[in-house]
């Protein structure tokens, strides 16, 4: 086959798989199945034992692509988590991301060792591979069912999932090295692990913070010709931050997440909507790509033998290991039993374990393919079991927040220069003082005015006689001085993507 034809065939295959996965999100969202499962199913169908007969068993490619995917996912996660939303949950999130990850891995490993007869290092390795969570999986499922979470529960899940990936990655790489070292050298110390991990995380966090500050200055001052160049610049920043920090022996994953958070905190980021949208698309592409690869790498005939241990471990992870680790970590904080239970049960697994499971295979650890197969089962079952009941569970445990329905139309101001005033959307709830009041009677401060109202599928002109109704989305243009009064009247603004 000559080169152009080969590339055409590859592009057509990737295009069909990606397109199929994207269209499938409509269906999975409607029937309440976590989206990730749909992607895995597409991968399985396309694989060598499925309809597509694509022979793919390249773990090293999967790992390299996986690292790139994680960089994109973590950077996007950071960009969507400004420091202001991270701050109130920082302490419990950090504890969950460190002690929680280690405790989850430890409990699961103990079960794998005692009940499954696996060697401690291998058992710990499986624990580490599946120990990080993915809040995006929880939110995607909730969005599909029109439910939203209490803000402190949602924020904690989100912050934890951004912070625990670097720890899980570090644990997996360290344990893989340890297993190999012990095998080869017949000995070696595992005691330096916590020290190395702390060093890498601290260096990663520090480098990310510095890079985030520097990048924010660069983005706000560079004044590029075209709006389309800004997301290219932020993508370049993510790659550089990851690469340089890793070369400096810090955790590149921690650095790229922290850099994203710091950039998200910038008050005047030029072309913010364009930057966020493009990175959101990259993160989706990365998620889909990773789950497709997981589906392609799995062989149903081989999976059968991993079904029983996989099922057992998935049950222990969902019902024992994660809830126990969460209860331990949240005990010092003021979280109710219901909130702790919910956070414990819905720590869904995402794309990270898939990438991590390729590390032992690539490193040549004996029996690593079996680890991969077991991880496949754990990820699928852990996504399926809590994933399908997450909305029901949220209602049952009373952790549902005030859901704000999305507006049928949104306006976003894109500016290349820092603007003094801002245009924000506010959702009219019955509990607001402006609800049911004509605009002419609302005591607007100087420098603030309603520009438009979105009511159902209608756009309304803001006139004095227009009465604000519950469910309206009101666009208010306000100067920074007028902002406090506007928020007193309308509550906090809606976050527009």
């Amino acid at each position: 086959m000559n080169a152009p034809i080969a590339i055409a065939a590859i592009l057509a295959t990737v295009g069909i798989l990606l397109g199929g996965s994207v269209v499938l999100t409509r269906l999975t969202g409607r029937i309440g199945i976590p989206i990730a499962l749909g992607f895995i199913a597409v991968g399985l169908l396309a694989g060598s034992e499925g309809l597509g007969h694509i022979a793919f068993e390249n773990y090293s490619f999967a790992f390299r692509a996986g690292v790139v995917a994680l960089v994109l996912i973590l950077f996007d996660g950071g960009l969507n988590t400004p420091p202001s939303s991270l701050r109130p949950v920082a302490a419990p999130a950090l504890l969950l991301a460190t002690v929680g990850v280690i405790a989850t891995a430890g409990v699961l490993a103990a079960f794998a060792h005692l009940a499954g007869g696996l060697d401690w290092p291998i058992a710990l390795l499986i624990g580490a591979v599946v120990s990080s969570t993915d809040a995006a999986a929880v939110f995607a499922t909730l969005r599909g069912s029109g439910t939203s979470l209490k803000s402190r529960v949602g924020r904690l899940l989100e912050a934890e999932s951004g912070l625990n990936d670097p720890i899980a990655i570090l644990l997996t790489i360290s344990l893989t090295t340890f297993v190999l070292y012990r095998t080869i050298e017949n000995g070696g110390s595992v005691w330096t692990l916590p020290l190395t991990a702390t060093f890498e995380i601290v260096v990663g966090g520090g480098a990310g913070w510095l890079a985030g500050k520097g990048s924010t200055r660069l983005i706000t001052q560079v004044r590029l010709e075209s709006a389309g160049l800004y997301p290219v610049l932020t993508l370049a920043i993510a790659m550089t931050v990851f690469g340089v920090t890793t070369l400096l022996h810090g955790s590149g994953f921690m650095a790229v997440y922290v850099a994203g958070v710091v950039i998200a905190g910038a008050t005047q980021l030029p072309h913010r909507p364009a930057i966020l949208r493009v990175h959101d698309a990259f993160a989706w592409l990365a998620q889909i790509g990773m789950f497709l690869v997981l589906g392609l790498l799995a062989f149903p005939t081989r999976l059968a033998s991993a079904a029983l241990p996989g099922l057992g471990l998935a049950l222990v992870l969902t019902l024992v290991a994660r809830p126990a680790a969460v209860a331990l970590c949240l005990a010092p904080f003021r979280y109710s039993l219901r909130e702790t239970t919910f956070i414990g049960i819905v720590g869904l697994r995402g794309a990270v374990p898939v990438v991590l499971a390729t590390i032992p295979v690539m490193a040549g650890i004996p029996g690593a393919r079996r680890i991969f197969d077991v991880v496949f089962f754990i990820v699928v079952l852990n996504t399926l079991m809590p994933g399908t009941i997450v909305a029901w569970l949220a209602r049952k445990l009373g952790v549902v927040g005030a859901a704000t329905p999305e507006a049928a139309a949104t306006i976003v101001i894109e500016s290349s220069e820092p603007m003094q005033s801002s245009l924000r959307s506010y959702f009219v709830d019955r509990a607001l003082p402006v609800c049911g009041v004509p605009l002419s009677e609302v005591p607007f401060p100087d420098g603030a005015a309603v520009t438009m109202i979105v009511r159902g599928s209608e756009l309304l002109v803001a006139e004095g006689s227009t009465e604000l109704q519950p469910g309206d989305h009101v666009y208010v243009l306000a100067s920074p001085e007028a902002d406090p009064m506007v928020q007193l009247l309308f509550g906090r603004p809606e976050v527009l993507e």
Partner: protein
């Protein structure tokens, strides 16, 4: 319409004891001297409003407000916490001064929003936070309103 028509000295506390947001709301409600059931209902409504975004508008000031069946006319109260309390204010700074507004669900005279606007305007005056901090008795609060012509 003047603000001081709505305030009364027995609904003013210059030394709030509570040290968290919920307890501050409860203590402010207690200034209105309602029965226990009404206090509970009012607390729920105020919490609902706070969940939509803090009424702490910055510069140490918060104006918790809601409509509720438990009052038949507009009621207000003022509370001061000299050490400040974390009220999740929009400037993320402690809040020292609290103006509580409770309006009935249906008002003929439509005073709710004008009172809210006037209190916000009054509290925004540059010397007001300093003056509020200097008060030693409720009567001085009423005098300050009179002096400011509100």
């Amino acid at each position: 319409m003047e603000l001081r028509e709505f305030f009364s000295e027995n609904a003013i506390s210059l030394d709030l004891k509570a040290d968290n947001k919920d307890d501050i709301l409860r203590e402010l409600i207690s200034l209105l001297k309602l029965d226990e059931k009404s206090e509970g209902m009012l607390f729920k409504m105020l919490k609902r409003r706070e969940n939509l975004g803090s009424t702490g508008i910055g510069r140490g000031i918060a104006i918790p407000h809601c409509r509720s069946l438990v009052v038949n006319k507009l009621r207000v109260a003022f509370g001061r916490k000299p050490n400040g309390v974390d009220f999740k204010a929009i400037d993320e700074k402690p809040v020292y001064f609290f103006f509580l507004i409770v309006a009935p669900p249906l008002e003929v005279s439509n005073q709710y929003l004008p009172v809210l606007g006037k209190i916000a305007q009054f509290s925004k005056e540059s010397d007001v936070p300093g003056r509020l901090l200097e008060l030693t008795e409720p009567a001085q609060f009423m005098a300050l309103l009179k002096e400011k012509g509100v």
